[in-house]
Each structure stands twice: as C-alpha cells, then as structure tokens.
Subunit: 243 residues, 2 copies
DNA sequence: CGGCTGCTTGATCAAGTTCAACTTTTGTGG
DNA sequence: CCACAAAAGTTGAACTTGATCAAGCAGCCG
C-alpha cells in the first residue's frame, strides 16, 4: 500500500479495489527527491509519469528575465505529469519545493491499463481535467482579484486540497512554501506577499508557526477570496469541509 | 463534411480517415446560435458536448461584483465543453461572442467511440490537454506580464490558433471581440486595453479595420509578448508559422 | 561561527484603475 | 432607409495598488 494516496481527491472513490490494485501493480519504483530539485524539464521527451506521494512540487514557466511563474502547485496524491502521457512533451518545468517521495509509471503501462479498463482511463482523464479546473480558477483569481483576495483564495484552495487527502488536522497543515514561492504562484512580489500575509494574520484569519498554517476563520478567508470549492469536486473526497 | 474543422489544430492529423468518419457520424445536429448567447451555464448537468464550427465563444467565471474573467477563448475547430464529458458539470459559463455554428455530440456516443478506438479516445484527451496548456500560458502571462506584453502575447496566440485552422489570409483575420472583451481575457479594464492597443498600433505591430486584424510585425509582437507557440503543438497543424 | 536565504519594514515610483465626458459605430424599430 | 438608442471607442485627470529599491533582522545549515 505504498501509494495509499493514489488519486485521493481525484475521483479515486469512483474506482473499484481491483482497479486501484491494477494501477498500483504498475508502479515501477518509488524514490525520494530532495527539495528544490527538478523532476522534469521543459522540452524533455517524457516516457514516465510521476505520482506525488509526499511533499510539494510545482510547475513553473520562466520569463526572459528569469522570473518564474508557477502554473500549478502539486500536493500529495496528485499525478504531477500525467499531461505528458498524451502530449509527449512538457511546456514547463516541474521542481520540488520540499523533499518529496514519488512513484513513477511507464507510459506504456498506463496506456495498457487504460485500454483494459475504460473506467480507469476515465479516472486518469478526470485527474488531468481537475488540474485544468484548478488552472481556470487561477486565471480567474489572477485576472480579477487584488492581492489580499488572491492570497486568501490560494490559502483556501490549499486548505481544501490538503483536507481532501487527509493532511489537515485541527484546521492546520504543514506548508513548506516560502513567501517568494507564494509570490511566484500569485503573481506578486515576495515583499508584497509579506505585507498581505501580515494583514491577513492581523485580521485573525490564520496563524503560522514553524511552516505550519492553522486556519482560524475559513469562512472569512473564503469570503475575502471569493472562494468556492465546487471546482475541486470535493464531494468525491472527504466531505469535512464540502458545502 | 459539415465538421471539416473537427479537431483541426488539435492533433487531428494523428487520426485516420475512418476515425474522423466515425466521429463525424455521431454529430446529432448542427445549429446556429446568435452572438452573446449562453451555450452552457455553470452548475448545469451536461450530457452533450459542443464542437465549434464557426465563430467565437468564451468561457467565463463571474466575480461577486458581476465582473467577468474569461478563462478560455474558443475558435473554430475547438471542442468547447469536452471537459464536461468526464467532469459532468461545468465550473463556469460558456457564452458566444459572435454568431456561431455548432455541432453537438451525445456524451454516450463519445464514450462508445472512445472505447472502440483508443486512438480517438487519446485524441479527445489530447484536445482537452491542449486547452489546459493554453490555460497555463494565460496564468503565466497574467502573472508575469505588464499590459503591453499581455495583449501582445494574446494577439500572437489568436493569430497562431486561427492560422492553425486556416482562418488567416494575408496575415489578417476576422476578429469580432470588443476592447472590453479583450479586457475580460487579459485581466485589464476596457479603458486600458484601448490605450495599449493604440500604443501597439502606433508601433506598427498591427492594424485594425472593421473587426479585421492584420498583423504587420509578428516577430515584434512575439518578442514584446514573450510568445513561443510551442505549447500549441503547431507541428500538428499547418506549418506556415511554426518555427 | 559565517553566510545564505527568507522575513520584515520604510520610502519612492510607476502601472493601471476609476471616474467622467465625449465621439463614433452598430443595431433596431418605425 | 432613417432615427434613435445602445454599445463601443477615445481621451483626460485624479487616485490606488503593488513594484522597486534599500536596509536591517532572524533562522538555518554547513
């Protein structure tokens, strides 16, 4: 049961035990990767897909000046490069943020089991489309929200996504991202992230201690950040914070 | 040959004639829809998917004040709600921008042919992942680009995407979006879009006349907007402007 | 212990918004 | 086909947000 988080929060509940066993049997190996290391780079030919078991990883696009913009943040249970199965090559880099544990799958194995089980094929498709739904929400938030709303919205997203994979206890979760990391996600500078986070903390919305965030007022954060978890289909996961 | 644009620019070249015939035979009907009409709304249960044959349509998320943010712009040949096939419900609205002609497919038919032809299933998956790649590029552009770069980047995207479906002649294309529309896409106000467009025109990058845009200096626009068409996989389409 | 990285805070500056007014184009009904 | 209304395009001025530059502090790792 190495991959106990496989597709957790990604429609896993739609699958049977046998289907989960089938895909688990295809795990070629499980490895640990240190923090701040690339998992895959732009333009590389991709022949394996990676399932994130523990830790955080992020997809980045770089601009000409070297500044980075995160296009997705991955939490445990996410397939970090399932996209590459049909697309064959990546349009961005994938880098670990914390130390991570990942399982890898050969593309050929994934193709084989997809043909054997349409339900599994559908689950894989679903997983990539949930990524796309997250992408759309980021576009919305980047386009229409001021800094406070953008960061509040992001905190809500992480809170719900981590809760969906059982990593929230007592409204708190381990969160190893730095303030510059949050800036690269939200399209702000690290300096401004700092000011906004303090502003949010002063309003009693959450507290941070030693890379651990505790949400004190989820409703307040959700209202400020116009956050509605519908797009994550949380009904497929633990219903603790679903509407 | 109603749907001659089917998956054009979306990996269609990977399919055989028989596969294209197979999917074309499943078109349930073709209808015209006026401009500024909803094709689908947030939360609706979706049982059909829509292929855009002619015209422009856009996906929107609304904020509390009623302001809209586009999360994707669809051009002819795009499947505008294939996502809904696995996801079952939409997290946003889809609205026509110009008068459009669309073909609809029952989800059950699409599921059936996907099971019969893994290559077709893969083509459909590919199409949704190309949407996701476009989403990621918007996140990047919204997060890191100033207004001029964002709009220049967007113009390049549209130019290349329309070229991929054969709608560019003489470096020009019909483009019925208003300046407020472009603002809803780029996360800017209509007023600022106006100023930036004039700035770009004054630099001789493009001209507009009666909803027709002619690109005069693609390289200049691409450089200003840091645009690289790789993410659209243009090698699958007409190579006219591929690198 | 020293150096790197992240965190914090202040001052200044520029990009883009907002508000407002006016012109031009488009669409609709008589 | 014209009249009128609605929407889009255009321009200016004041204002707000967040970036930039700069400097000091704290914590962690070798």
């Amino acid at each position: 049961m190495i991959s106990h988080k496989f597709l957790m929060g990604r429609g896993r509940d739609q699958l049977s035990i046998e289907e989960i066993r089938m895909i688990e049997s295809k795990i070629s190996n499980v490895i640990d990767v240190p923090a701040r290391e690339p998992l895959a780079c732009r333009g590389e030919e991709v022949v394996k897909s990676t399932l994130l078991l523990e830790g955080f990883a992020s997809r980045y696009k770089n601009d000409q000046t070297g500044a980075r913009q995160a296009v997705e943040l991955h939490v445990p249970g996410d397939f970090v490069d399932l996209h590459a199965l049909p697309l064959k090559q990546l349009d961005h880099d994938i880098i670990t943020i914390s130390e991570v544990k990942v399982a890898t799958f050969d593309h050929q194995d994934l193709m084989d089991i997809s043909q054997k089980s349409p339900r599994l094929a559908n689950a894989l498709w679903f997983s990539t489309l949930l990524d796309a739904a997250i992408n759309r929400k980021w576009i919305f938030s980047h386009g229409r929200h001021r800094a406070e709303a953008r960061i509040a919205n992001f905190l809500c997203e992480i809170y719900v996504r981590l809760d969906m994979v059982g990593l929230v206890t007592d409204n708190a979760f381990h969160f190893p991202l730095t303030q510059p990391d949050i800036g690269e996600i939200t399209g702000l500078t690290g300096v401004h992230v700092n000011r906004v986070l303090r502003w949010l903390r002063n309003r009693g919305l959450f507290v941070v201690d030693k890379r651990r965030i505790q949400i004190l007022d989820y409703d307040g954060l959700a209202k400020l950040g116009e956050f509605d978890p519908d797009y994550l289909f949380p009904s497929f996961a633990r219903p603790e914070h679903a509407p």
